[in-house]
Symmetry: D2
């Protein structure tokens, strides 16, 4: 049983972390913070948690949080980096669900996030929390940078091809479709029901922060100067990301299905579907699984990979809990056994 | 550990029963039937169950089912009544999620379901499986008639008022809003996305089968010749029922909030929300909870009760598992601990 | 050809007024105001209007607006009342789509809107713009108070019964289901896609501003001290209101269908559907029609009326244009011939 | 005024043709056919048309249809080709909204549609009804093959690049997202609300009929042996297609924005949006416009084109009416002036 705090409990990743931790057998939630809702019971803001969680929101104070063994940051970008050094000094371990520690290159980070980094000296220490790439480093990490939702779906889809060097990395396309929860719970006109329902749109075609994170991951997996076009789309669903990945095969005889099955054999949360399958986002709704399928184009020269996750689970809170399980030597799947909610 | 069969595993209540049973610690699923999908792995039809369930669909044969201790019928109306006598003879207990055993009065049943009943002698024996009314009888039952989704929401909402005799039963209105999953998974034009999305409609205003079931329940709770107007509506959500109930108070001084809290004290799956609350269906999505709130109208002479359930859980599969837990002396909440999925 | 201004062109009623006026053959749009978007082309904010409207937003200045013959206010409550006296002095006529002139009783208005009225002397002059009740007065009005969306649906549904005195007005229930556009386009958490999709909820059960407006209309139609329970619900659709109305019949032999058909004979925008029909909101999507059906309950003692409108058209912008047509002697249907968009 | 018949009036393209023709000033609708609904008033099946259309469905008989000047086929594939020869003999002109005449190559057609073509001699005569490519031929055509919804969006997006030879046609990717109405109105499980809502999926990755049609169009526009990967996706909206197109630029200095603006100058139904724009499907909902935006990838070596249409309007019924207008010398925009319905 470890004592855990959650900073930023009022957003969608926050409430999802709470949903998962509230019934996790090895976790004692001791602190959930929100400046805005300070003093209110969490279950008043999120009645879905009535009977599951009796805590009230508190201010995010180092004193209180420093008594936790582990703190999850489900707060906006820029929050974790201001509190991390103090907490680490107190021996607290950190999992940041925002972007503060995702890019190892400080100038890249500052370019994409538009502000100086508050503790650049920690960027190299932080471990990128994609268990399928970095399980060993995660187990001993003090700071885990939980991957972005798009990078999780895209990297898990591309990794087997990149690692085995069977694609031309100059022609990578990642066309991704996200549910609206990825845009967060802040008041906005853009994400109103009437702006997003019955509608599909691309956004940030000229550049999205997650492209830097994806490219960093592709390079880490062995890609040489990858040229990636990454286009995110907003679709009228609550949860879910479907990434459709396109690339040029350099080895036309490769057994793609076998490659994927071998690459992910034993992974508890990556499901390589049978040849010809089309993973739907609803088949992972509420679960920590990434379902993958790999296809070959008509001409045989291209691979098309489909990668489906729940952006709030494998793309955020579930992966964070998975990282926690690894960090503390728990069974990696404990507290993450939820079957997808279908329909 | 009991051995359990599911007849009719391809509908929405079927797949929901499977979701719940697949991880139930005291259940061994031994048989899932479907004539149409016979031979196919269940997880091929419902990829959400990949890794959770390795069974394939079989034909619904008495021989196979008779080796189960308990059989759930998640099949269309008229299925359970043809197989029930044989199974009971073999010592199998039955929970029917369809309507075959819900009405104790044979002529009423035959009126609403338009066909002769195949085993009318069992109508009196069957226990109406609303635990909050009939827990004791359920525990010893051979046949449990799992309540309809609308009757569950409406009865749990009306019960405290009826039992305490504080309303005029000649002016009961139940305006109910259902998600589309209540209409089943059969091919149809009516329930296509493009017919039901971005649309609200009432249906069956002139009479719906569930009105007989609700009235039977109201009478069982003590209502004298209730005059109920029950109007179901179809709304563009997947899961959920919100019942809005209107009635005339005969005792204007009654403490309604206290009445509800007292009536449901100790009930594990009924949540009386604080005074002034508006339960949302999403706050019970995927969970077995019914959330209730009771209001008084402006004039003070009417009560307005709001009752929210997930039609596939407390309104079907979850309540069926709850009934199973009661029948076998398991902890009533085991296998039903799912927190609502929000957002 | 009249010159028309629109104050508040960035909300949902605003953009709908613009959609209708942009192609109205007798209207020249000369001014569309928005403080926030001042200077931007309207079609930049609403690309749906590209090629239809070349105006840019301006500040709402009396000087500019006073050169219009007619000004529509599609701005928040409290805007029209501050500008109305000056505009009237300049000879400009006004249609307010907000609530400033809807209640004739000043104390009622100030109770429900929580602020002193800026020009109470105009409350008696303003005409309540429900053409089916007040066509004659509208034609000569200087100020038309365009009805609220709920009152439009509810009043058109109740009127025949009230006018003919065939119901007991002490037991009126109006259970209404609205799309989310009724909540406006302001940034908010409450109306985000992820808060409202796949969800149904009641709100303001303890009292909603529109109840006062409905009661005022019922009384105007002849109801004596009506006791109305009005409960609004939010449903996951963009446009549409379905009002389900319940009442006790005092004359059980009344030919309800005939009554409705007679009452609305000749009305261009009220469609009494055949006996037994269930109007769907999508059958009026984008059109100015109110579709009605009247049913009798099982017991025969209650009437159930179904009333469907598009909240942004007959419930707001379309009705405003209809009022304009009446005020200027145009054909009442001109510019409002849109067939509902189905699917 | 021409007399027009519609074969297959009960599907989504059928009802959309009826919506547009019902108010078209130069059209007299004389016949709407449906075997299944024969004898029923059209407005009973589609109450959205109440007051707009008084016809009843009839059987599709050559005798009756031969008295029309023009017949639209909104029926399933394989219908038009069986009736076309007889109708042409009677001097009737034909617009087929299905696929019978879309491919000029008979063997291609028979490969993709899996059946012998009933009148292959007409394949060469039929004109592919994309006005932006073939306006002149359409005006004199006896048979117009109305393009598929995906090919319309994809071709309009690619055409300027292909015509000007500024892309490498060996690396074309078309990732398309469609609303569910594209799947038709036939009863099915796959297209139920509960299967498609809150869900995104790719389908037919291994090959979709429309790829042949797109490639035929690309070649017609000048592409040499194009290698196209075309992946369609189903998204939870009723109407709309967004095509996201990826290609390699061969001329890195090309002014893409200028190229598109020049290419579509004067086109009444193609809107090249400003540089940097992201067309949303809702901005064309219910309208006949295709809105395009062209972007350059981060690396500068790729173009990303966004193309949004309403699949039932520019992707089907609206384009068919546009073709009719061209065939009969009407103003090309008459009857197609609908502004997009937003929100």
């Amino acid at each position: 049983m470890i004592s855990v705090g959650v900073v930023g409990g009022t957003g969608y990743t926050g409430v999802e972390v709470l949903r998962l931790l509230a019934t996790h057998p090895h976790v004692k939630l001791t602190s959930v913070t929100s400046r805005v809702e300070r003093g209110k019971p969490v279950a008043e803001i999120f009645p879905s948690l009535r009977g599951r969680l009796s805590l009230a929101f508190t201010d995010p104070e180092i004193d209180r949080l420093s008594s936790c063994e582990l703190v999850f940051f489900a707060a906006p970008n820029g929050t974790a980096m201001t509190m991390a050094p103090s907490l680490l000094d107190c021996g607290v371990r950190i999992i940041d669900l925002a972007a503060d520690f995702r890019l190892r290159d400080r100038s890249q980070w500052e370019h994409w996030y538009g502000t100086p980094h508050a503790c650049p000296e920690l960027l190299q220490e932080a471990v990128y929390g994609l268990p399928e790439m970095n399980r060993d480093s995660i187990s001993g990490a003090r700071i885990v940078a939980n991957p972005g939702c798009y990078p999780t779906a895209v990297l898990l889809g591309f990794l087997p091809l990149i690692k085995h060097g069977v694609v031309d990395t100059h022609h990578l396309v990642a066309d991704t479709k996200s549910g609206v929860s990825g845009a967060g719970r802040e008041p906005s006109t853009r994400n109103l029901f009437c702006e997003t329902a019955d509608n599909v749109t691309a956004y940030n075609v000229s550049g999205h922060r997650h492209s830097a994170e994806i490219i960093q991951g592709l390079v880490a997996a062995g890609a040489c100067e990858p040229d990636l076009v990454f286009v995110p789309h907003l679709t009228p669903m609550i949860r879910g990301i479907l990434a459709t990945l396109y690339c040029e095969l350099t080895d036309l005889k490769e057994d793609l299905q076998g490659l994927y099955e071998q690459c992910y054999a034993g992974e508890p949360f990556v499901d390589v579907m049978p040849s010809g399958a089309h993973p739907e986002t609803r088949c992972v709704r509420g679960s920590n699984v990434c379902r993958l399928a790999v296809h070959r184009s008509n001409s045989g020269r291209k691979a098309v990979v489909l990668s489906a996750i729940d952006n709030l689970v494998k793309g955020a809170a579930g992966q964070a809990v998975q990282n926690m399980n690894i960090m503390y030597g728990f069974d990696e799947t404990v507290g993450l056994e939820h079957t997808a909610l279908l329909p």
